[in-house]
Amino acid sequence: MLKDNNNIGIVEDEPQVADLYKTALTTLGMSISFIAGDGLEAIQAFKDSDPKPHIVIMDYRMPIMTGIAAMKEMRKLSPETEYIIVSADSSIREDAIEAGALMFLEKPIQLKQLIGCVKNFSQQSTRPI
């Protein structure tokens, strides 16, 4: 079981996928800080969240604002949160990393892979949010 204070933010415009992530992560005992359907909504939800999520799983291609743009804004608010950028478009991998993402995962992700990444980060992270 992971620590209680490992809460995850999910930013995904496809509800079924968002649900999938939520189900997979909560099964692990993680709490979901917020689920947002686009970048703007994500920034607001991030602002409103307390405590701030440890990790945000951020889809790249979303209406209104891309995941990387949202991430940049959210990092300004709280630089400690890490981001896993997810997209079917692998070409944005470099941009995502350069923008400060922890990692990039190409859709469709194997849940095992996603869970593995989150676990690794959680175990490495010692600082409180």
């Binding site: 079924q16 079917a88 478009d89 692998s90 070409s91 190409e106 469709p108 849940l111």
Partner: protein
């Protein structure tokens, strides 16, 4: 009555007196120591005195000049014989004081004792004789002077050629003293035996001596005493005796050496001139021929120009493409197609400025470029503009070039209506954009759908206990989603390659291969051995998608084999046609690929038995990417001829 017998003179009496009186020879008789007692008429005529006057004059004293008187007296009165033995020349003084030259035959009549009683003389008037003599003398003197002082060679030779006379000029000319040359033969002295050209002069001289009349004028080579050869022009005249026989030859010669030399030179010059004239004539003939050929060529050229002009006229006038000639702003010429494109008549279009039909957004561009071109600058010749015609707007592709027309710089613009092309291009672009949009949308949405499907199946797999069949079905469902995802990824990659949307950079192939090895060596449930031989520093100019090339091949080796599989990857450099390539060989010991399948393995789709197979894009993507990077890929059997023993994929990429 006359007697027929011979009479002595003293018997003739009157006859004798009459004979003496009337004779033309003057007669005078005088007492030996006294006056004249008789004379004849001729004497009167000779002296100019009458008989009466003469009777009172002393003979010879009064008839002779003082300086000759004594001598005359001595001759006439001093003679001891009755007849002087020879005539005496004397000058008598006539009545008018003139001197009359005479010749006297003096007689003395003596008595029995021998005492002179009378003297009488027969006197011949020598005036004419003297005159002739003087004239002759003068002539002779003149002749002598002439001969001696002549600037001509004057010589005489006898009939044997021996020199009998050699004037002073001849002496100086030939360099001989008179005593050296007189009596010598001309041959060997002043005439060489043969002349410079080998002619026999000796024979010639002999002939002249014998037949001078046949050689009145003659030119031949002569020789000076020092051996110098000279040329003389001779005038030869026969010297004959009273019988008319030739006894010698008078030769008058003039030096013509300079003339001969001049003649020789002249001849040489003439020969040279003739030669030059011949040469020049030949040159002129050549030039003439050349000119004639030139004229012919020009005529041909003119003919060709006319033909060309006709061709051009037909070409231009009937061309469906607008063609205009413009200079500055003005249109000088527009073909019918141009007039039609502009929507006006041929006359009207020439009143337009060339940029007038062009739409505003292109007008300035066209104007600037064509004016710059006319100035000699080099703006782009080919560009596209839009024009307004009476049938709406049209896209025109124009090609402009500076030409010389009627001696003035002019711009020729040829247009091509590319409206359909532009429309097709626009439609194509729109289609492409739309297609890409659909691909993007679909790949995004399908990815999400796949994500939802795969993810939930994964959760189900963990949550629900299924029997073997159920597990298999679940696994199959998951694989279907994976394939779908893979297909989408490949479509996007293919789209990227086809679009040329690759970021080419310097990539180390070796590092890519090591990554592939690392990624595929640990596949759960499979015994995979990957051997890699890769030197360092093998760089190519490629996109990071290059990973997909090798990962695809290795993935296929694993996927289409079962159990354990050995994969050998080697990297080497080769030279093909002088160019360096890197050769990546990926060889497995899997089940191999059927030769028929090998033929179409890189195709996007293929049909087997009328059914479409090979829906995957993997190797098609690999081939497309390799070829985009100017490389090659081919497949062969690991063991040649035995395809079931494994497959080898070879990728060749240009080295950087």
């Amino acid at each position: 009555m006359m007697s027929l017998g011979f009479l002595n003179l003293n018997e003739l009496g009157d006859f004798t007196s009459a004979a003496v009186e009337n004779d033309t020879i003057s007669f005078i008789a005088a007492h030996h120591y006294g006056n004249v007692f008789t004379c004849n008429r001729a004497f009167c005529l000779l002296t100019g005195y009458s008989k009466e006057e003469i009777s009172n004059i002393r003979w010879p004293e009064d008839f002779t000049a003082a300086e000759l008187r004594a001598w005359a007296v001595n001759i006439i009165k001093g003679s001891k014989s009755n007849v002087t033995s020879y005539p005496h020349e004397l000058e008598l003084i006539a009545k008018d004081g003139s001197r009359v030259p005479v010749v006297m035959y003096v007689h003395t009549y003596r008595d029995g004792a021998g005492r002179p009683i009378y003297n009488y003389s027969f006197i011949m008037d020598m005036t004419e004789h003297k005159r002739l003599e003087n004239a002759l003398k003068a002539s002779e003197t003149k002749y002598r002077e002439l001969v001696e002082n002549a600037n001509s060679i004057i010589l005489k030779m006898d009939t044997h050629g021996n020199i009998t006379f050699f004037n002073e000029f001849a002496q100086l000319y030939f360099g001989y003293q008179l005593n050296e040359i007189l009596g010598k033969n001309v041959i060997g002295t002043i005439v060489p035996v043969t002349d410079s050209s080998g002619g026999n002069l000796s024979k010639m001289i002999r002939h002249i001596c014998v037949h001078p009349q046949l050689h009145k004028l003659n030119e031949n080579e002569n020789m000076r005493s020092n051996g110098e050869r000279v040329w003389v022009s001779w005038t030869n005249k026969a010297i004959t005796n009273d019988q008319g026989d030739v006894v010698g030859v008078l030769c008058v010669g003039n030096d013509i050496t300079a003339l001969k030399n001049a003649e020789t030179e002249l001849k040489w010059s003439r020969d040279q001139l003739e030669m030059r004239v011949s040469e020049r004539t030949a040159e002129l003939e050549k030039v003439n021929e050349f000119l004639l050929n030139e004229i012919e060529a020009r005529k041909q050229a003119e003919k060709r120009i006319i033909e060309s002009e006709e061709k051009f006229r037909i070409l231009v006038e009937t061309s469906p493409m607008p063609i205009i000639l413009h200079r500055g702003a003005d249109i000088i010429y527009a073909n019918p197609a141009a007039a039609e494109a502009a929507g006006c008549s041929a006359e009207e279009i020439q009143k337009l400025k060339f940029w007038e039909p062009i739409l505003p957004q292109f007008k300035e561009l066209a104007r600037e470029r064509e004016l710059a071109r006319l100035q000699g600058e080099g703006p782009p010749s080919v560009y596209e503009v839009k024009i307004q015609t009476n049938r709406g707007e049209k896209w025109m592709k124009t090609c402009s070039v500076k030409v010389m027309y009627m001696g003035n710089p002019t711009i020729m613009t040829i247009g091509e209506d590319i409206t359909p092309y532009k429309q097709a291009l626009t439609a194509l672009k729109d289609s492409k954009v739309e297609a890409e949009l659909y691909v993007d949308l679909m790949s995004h949405d399908i990815s999400n759908i796949n994500q939802a499907g795969m993810g939930n199946l994964e959760l189900l797999q963990d949550k629900v206990k299924l029997d073997a069949q159920g597990q298999e079905q679940l696994s199959t469902a998951l694989q279907a989603f994976e394939k779908s995802s893979e297909l989408i990824k490949n479509v996007k990659k293919l789209q990227k390659v086809k679009r040329g949307d690759l970021h080419l950079e310097k990539i180390d192939i070796g590092q890519i291969l090591y990554r592939v090895k690392d990624d595929y060596r640990m596949i759960p449930g499979r015994d995979i051995t990957i051997h890699l031989e890769s030197p360092e520093g093998c760089f190519v100019y490629a996109d990071r998608l290059l990973y997909e090339v090798f990962s695809n091949i290795v993935d296929n080796s694993i996927r289409y084999s079962s159990g354990s599989v050995d994969i050998n990857i080697s990297l080497s450099s080769v030279k093909i046609d002088g160019k360096k390539f890197y050769r990546v060989s990926i060889e497995d010991d899997g089940p191999g690929i059927n030769p028929d399948v090998k033929k179409r393995i890189f195709n996007r789709v293929h049909y087997e038995g009328g059914i479409m197979r090979g829906k995957g894009l993997g190797l098609y993507l690999v081939k497309t990417l390799v070829e985009y990077l100017h490389g090659k890929i081919f497949v062969e059997d690991s063991i040649p001829g035995d395809y079931i023993k494994g497959t080898r994929f070879v990728v060749m990429l240009p080295a950087m």
